[in-house]
């Protein structure tokens, strides 16, 4: 874009040094926890003087952390299983209806994305308290699914809008019912978007902390909730081990997605 000024070395160096520093700023807090997680000391010294796996042992050996991990993974999977089909059906509806109904549905489903988390959390807390569902699976799951539906919708809607519905009409004119036309033609073509939507719904749930802090008490305590509580009390290096595992997981997902995207594009 700036080729006409390519002889302006100073400006280019300046621009890229700012960019480099910003990238460093963005990566620093994520990268710093990796060496710390392998430290033998509980003092968070950098660079660590001795290496060990004791913080990973502390994590995997703790019944509390393991229970929270199981709850978080289960919630993530259930959230994806609810949010993706629900968002898919809503996207099909919006695409076929068009006009004002589509705008109303789109706007309503976007509400959880544009409302501050703290408001969703206390509102849900009041409603669930009324129903006696605080700290129960249905209660926490409702909170996570509600957050993940707009995330899945934003991935799926453009994909559905690109889809050529004449194919479904052709199948239907050949005698296929709606269900068969959708499962046989629409879903296979959407599989990458569905996978992306599922992963993002899963990550949305896995990363969710504010709602969990208010409504995921007792046995339903999630990993982020426990991390939050232990961060508020003291800086425990076990968190560094959890953070490293978490970052590796997310990095793997992001890189695989990016590679696939560039492969699909070329």
């Amino acid at each position: 874009m700036l080729e006409p000024w390519s002889d302006n070395r100073v400006a280019r160096v300046l621009l890229w040094s700012i960019a480099g520093l910003v990238f460093l700023f963005l990566m620093a807090p994520t990268l710093i926890v990796v060496p710390l997680s392998f430290s033998a000391s509980d003092l968070l010294e950098f660079p660590p003087r001795e290496w060990s796996l004791r913080w990973y042992e502390a994590f995997f050996g703790s019944a509390t952390w393991m229970a929270a991990l199981c709850v978080s993974l289960m919630l993530g999977v259930l959230t994806a299983l609810i949010a993706v089909p629900a968002a898919l059906c809503a996207c099909i509806a919006m695409n076929r209806l068009g006009g004002r109904p589509a705008t109303v549905i789109y706007g309503s489903l976007l509400v959880p994305s544009v409302t501050p988390g703290i408001l969703l959390a206390i509102g849900l807390f009041f409603v669930l308290a009324k129903l006696g569902l605080i700290g129960t699976l249905p209660g926490v799951l409702a909170g996570h699914a509600m957050l993940a539906i707009p995330v899945a919708m934003l991935v799926l809607y453009p994909a559905i809008n690109r889809f050529d519905w004449a194919q479904v009409q052709a199948a239907r004119s050949l005698g296929a019912g709606w269900a068969r036309a959708v499962t046989g033609i629409l879903l296979p073509q959407l599989r990458f978007s569905l996978l992306t939507a599922g992963l993002m719904a899963f990550l949305t749930s896995l990363d969710e902390a504010v709602i969990s802090i208010f409504i995921a008490s007792g046995e339903m305590s999630t990993l982020p909730k426990l991390m939050f509580l232990s961060l508020r009390d003291q800086i425990d290096p076990t968190i560094a081990a959890i953070s490293t595992l978490w970052t590796v997981l997310v990095a793997a997902i992001v890189v695989v997605q990016a590679l696939r995207k560039s492969k699909n594009a070329s």
Binding site: P29, V33, L119, M153
Partner: protein, 292 residues
């Protein structure tokens, strides 16, 4: 829908039937969002006018509005959001320009570094900042080693720490729309500017920034609205000393069991977000092309 179709009653019935079917397809998603998001938001309004016994009252409002803690936390909220926004614009706009000025391939690669923090848990990142910014942390050690400061600087458990955490969270979300807007700028416009003798600075000021203002505006709105309700970052990096409205809400519920008071605190947040949302929709209707 052509008039000929509408004229045939059987086809019209078919069309109405299909319409109902599609409307029903949207119900599961609407039910979840309606029951778990929209109803709870309305419930906050209701709760703000109720006492613990369930009677309608204005006591919550008079109590909260007369408390100086309320006004100082509102001020803290807007100061934090404003500072975060200014820093995001200052750091993010050059980054977006750098990304937009390189090849698509290289930009896609660099975008990974932008998306990675975006998808890293907020708690992981907050923990990382806590480790970096502590008195004995890496940043203070580095500053003292190169002789910039004699004493460790108080970088965390104060406004500085919270703003650093917030900027770190919001920067990718600011850069993405700005980058997209800059990518869309027609290279010929810039070539024209250059051929008329514009320096790079002039081109950035008079061509690139005005053409990217839509993206800069969307990015800024995202940053401002998101940070108004931030909870985790001030709770951990503020160390109890930086108390925006979200923290006051949590304390009012958790510490004092005052549901009505917490609801009252939530209302201004709701109003500001709704106003900004309405303004964005209004702007789009006036300025932009209509989308279905």
């Amino acid at each position: 829908m052509t008039p000929a179709l509408d004229a045939d009653p059987a086809l019209a019935r078919d069309a109405a039937h299909e319409r109902r079917f599609f409307l029903s397809l949207s119900l599961p998603a609407l039910a979840v969002v309606g029951l778990a998001a929209i109803l709870p938001i309305l419930w906050i309004l209701r709760q703000s006018f109720m006492n613990l016994g369930g009677e309608v009252t204005l006591a919550n409002w008079t109590k909260i509005l007369n408390s100086s803690l309320t006004w100082s936390s509102l001020q803290t909220t807007f100061v934090l959001s404003g500072l975060t926004l200014v820093i995001c614009i200052a750091l993010g706009t050059p980054l977006a320009l750098a990304l937009a000025s390189t090849t698509q391939r290289r930009a896609n690669l660099l975008l990974i570094f932008l998306l990675l923090p975006l998808w890293t848990s907020i708690l992981v990142r907050t923990y990382g900042w806590l480790v970096l910014l502590r008195r004995e942390g890496l940043v203070n050690a580095a500053l003292q080693n190169i002789g910039l400061t004699a004493e460790p600087l108080p970088l965390v458990y104060n406004t500085t720490g919270v703003v650093i955490g917030m900027v770190h969270y919001m920067l990718p979300l600011y850069v993405l729309p700005v980058y997209a807007a800059m990518r869309d700028i027609d290279g010929n416009v810039l070539r024209a500017a250059a051929s008329m003798g514009a320096s790079l600075g002039q081109a950035i000021r008079t061509v690139i920034l005005p053409l990217a203002q839509g993206g800069i505006l969307s990015g800024s709105i995202i940053v401002f609205v998101y940070t108004l309700g931030f909870f985790i970052t001030p709770a951990v990096l503020g160390g109890g000393k930086v108390n925006p409205i979200a923290i006051r809400i949590e304390r009012t519920i958790g510490g004092f069991q005052d549901w009505g008071g917490a609801s009252v605190l939530g209302v201004p947040l709701l109003v500001v977000v709704a106003l900004i949302g309405a303004a964005v929709l209004g702007l789009r209707r006036v300025a932009g092309p209509r989308h279905a």
